[in-house]
C-alpha cells in the first residue's frame, strides 16, 4: 500500500465492503441507495464520475475558444469604437502602466483557466492510471483547482461593473461583448467538471 509512509494503516469504507456518504460521512451497507442521514445519493468510488468530468471539461474548453476570439469589451469614445478581447484588455492596461491590474487580469482570465483545464485533465488521467502522479500531489492539485475555479468569474463581473459605470452620459461608453457570455459559460462548465470529480478516487491506490 502506498500509505506505508504514514503510520496509520488505511482501510476505506469501500475496501471494508461498506459505502460511505460523501456529504455527511455516514457509513452504510453496500446496496443502500440513499443516505439515511442526509438523503444524498450513495455511490461506490468507481470511475463512473470521470465521464461527467471529461464531458464538462470538453464543454468548458469549447466555449473558452470564442471567449478569446470575440471582444469582451466594446469601448466607444467620441464615435470611435474599439473592441477589446481578453488579451487585448490586459495589454492595454499594461500600456497604461497599470502593471499590477494587468497582471491580475492576465492571471485570472488566461493563466488560471488554462491551468485549470490542464490540471483537471491531468487529474482525470492520473486516477485512471494513464499518467503517474502520487496521491498527495493529486490531492493538492484537486484542492487548488476546487478553490480557484470560481475566481475566474471575476472577469465577467469586471465587465458588468465597467459597463454600468461608463455609459452614454460620458465621452466614453463601455458595452459588454459576446465573449463575456462564453467566458462565463466556460467558468461554469469547468466548475461543474471539478465538482463532478469524486475526490475518493484521488486516494485510491489499490490497483498499483
Amino acid at each position: 500500500m502506498e500509505n506505508a509512509r504514514s503510520q496509520t494503516p488505511v482501510l476505506t469504507a469501500h475496501e471494508a465492503g461498506l459505502i460511505g456518504c460523501t456529504s455527511c460521512g455516514k457509513v452504510h451497507r453496500t446496496g443502500t441507495d440513499r443516505c439515511a442521514r442526509c438523503g444524498a445519493t450513495l455511490h461506490a468510488p468507481d470511475g463512473k464520475s470521470l465521464q461527467k468530468v471529461w464531458a464538462w471539461l470538453v464543454a468548458g474548453l469549447v466555449v473558452y475558444v470564442p471567449a478569446n476570439v470575440y471582444p469582451m469589451l466594446r469601448t466607444t469614445t467620441l464615435g470611435q469604437t474599439t473592441d477589446n478581447t481578453i488579451v487585448g484588455g490586459a495589454l492595454d492596461l499594461a500600456r497604461h502602466g497599470d502593471y499590477g491590474v494587468a497582471l491580475v487580469v492576465f492571471i485570472a482570465s488566461i493563466v488560471i483557466p488554462i491551468g485549470k483545464f490542464a490540471a483537471i485533465a491531468y487529474l482525470a488521467l492520473a486516477v485512471s492510471r494513464k499518467v503517474r502522479m502520487g496521491p498527495h500531489a493529486r490531492h493538492i492539485t484537486f484542492v487548488i483547482v476546487e478553490f480557484i475555479g470560481r475566481w475566474s468569474m471575476i472577469d465577467v463581473f469586471v465587465v458588468a461593473i465597467l459597463a454600468s459605470l461608463v455609459t452614454l452620459d460620458f465621452a466614453a461608453t463601455i458595452r459588454p461583448g459576446i465573449a463575456a457570455i462564453s467566458f462565463a459559460l466556460s467558468v461554469a462548465f469547468t466548475m461543474i467538471s471539478a465538482l463532478s470529480f469524486d475526490p475518493r478516487l484521488i486516494w485510491d491506490t489499490k490497483y498499483r
Binding site: 504514514s6 496509520t8 494503516p9 488505511v10 482501510l11 476505506t12 469504507a13 469501500h14 471494508a16 461498506l18 459505502i19 460511505g20 456518504c21 460523501t22 456529504s23 455527511c24 460521512g25 455516514k26 457509513v27 452504510h28 451497507r29 442521514r37 442526509c38 438523503g39 492596461l93 497599470d98 491590474v101 475555479g149 470560481r150 475566481w151 468569474m153 471575476i154 465577467v156 463581473f157 469586471v158 465587465v159 458588468a160 461593473i161 465597467l162 459597463a163 454600468s164 459605470l165 461608463v166 455609459t167 452620459d169 460620458f170 465621452a171 458595452r175 459588454p176 461583448g177 459576446i178 463575456a180 457570455i181 462565463a184 466548475m191 465538482l195 475526490p199 475518493r200 484521488i202 486516494w203
Partner: protein, 216 residues
Amino acid sequence: MSAVSHPESQFEDLEGLLACPSCDMLLNDRNVAANEIAACPRCHTVIEAPRPLAMTRIIMLSFAALILLFAALFFPFLELQAAGMMRHTTLLDTIAAFSGGLTAPLTLLMGALIVFLPLVRFVSLVYVLAPMAFGWAPLKHAIPVFRLVEALRPWAMIEIFMVGVAVALVKVAGLAHITIGPAFWAFVALVIVTVFKDNFMSRVTVWKTLEARRPS
C-alpha cells in the same frame, strides 16, 4: 478522528463509524468537543470543528447578511464624475449591465450569483439552524434544505464580485472621479460576514445534529 483498528471485525454496528467524506477512509466516529478540530489522518480534511454557540452565531450572521444585502441593493453603490457629468450606479444597475442585446442571459446569471443564490443560502441556513440553536426538532424538509445550502456553496460569489469591483475601479480611475456610496460599504461588510459564517460551519456536525434531533 482515529483509524479503525480492527479491520477483521464484521462491522455489525455501523453507528460508531464514519467514512471521510473526501477520501473514504474508515474512521471511528466520536463526539467532537467544542473548539476541537477533528481531521482525517490520511487526507487532513477537517471533518468536524465545532465552535461554542456556532449555530447561534451562524444565524446571527445570516440575519446580518440579509440586512446588508438589502442595503447593498438599494443604496447608491458607486458614483462616477467626469466632464461635469454625474452617474450613480446601484448594484442592480451593475447586474442589469448585460441586459441589452446578445449578452442579456448574463443578467440572469449575475443576479443569481451575487444576489439570488446568496439570499437563498442565508434564508435556508436560518430555516435549518434556528431550531437547532434552540434545541428544538428540525423543521419540515430541513434535510433537503440543508442539502441545497451545501450544493449552492460554490455558486454564491459575493466575495469574487467584491474583488471584481476593486479591479474595475482601478481600470476607470484615470477616466473619471469615483465616489464610493454607502451600498459599497454594506457590500464589503456583507463579504466579511459571509466569510465568517462559512468558517463557523462544519457540515458533518450539522448533519449529525439534524439526525440526533430528528423526531422519531
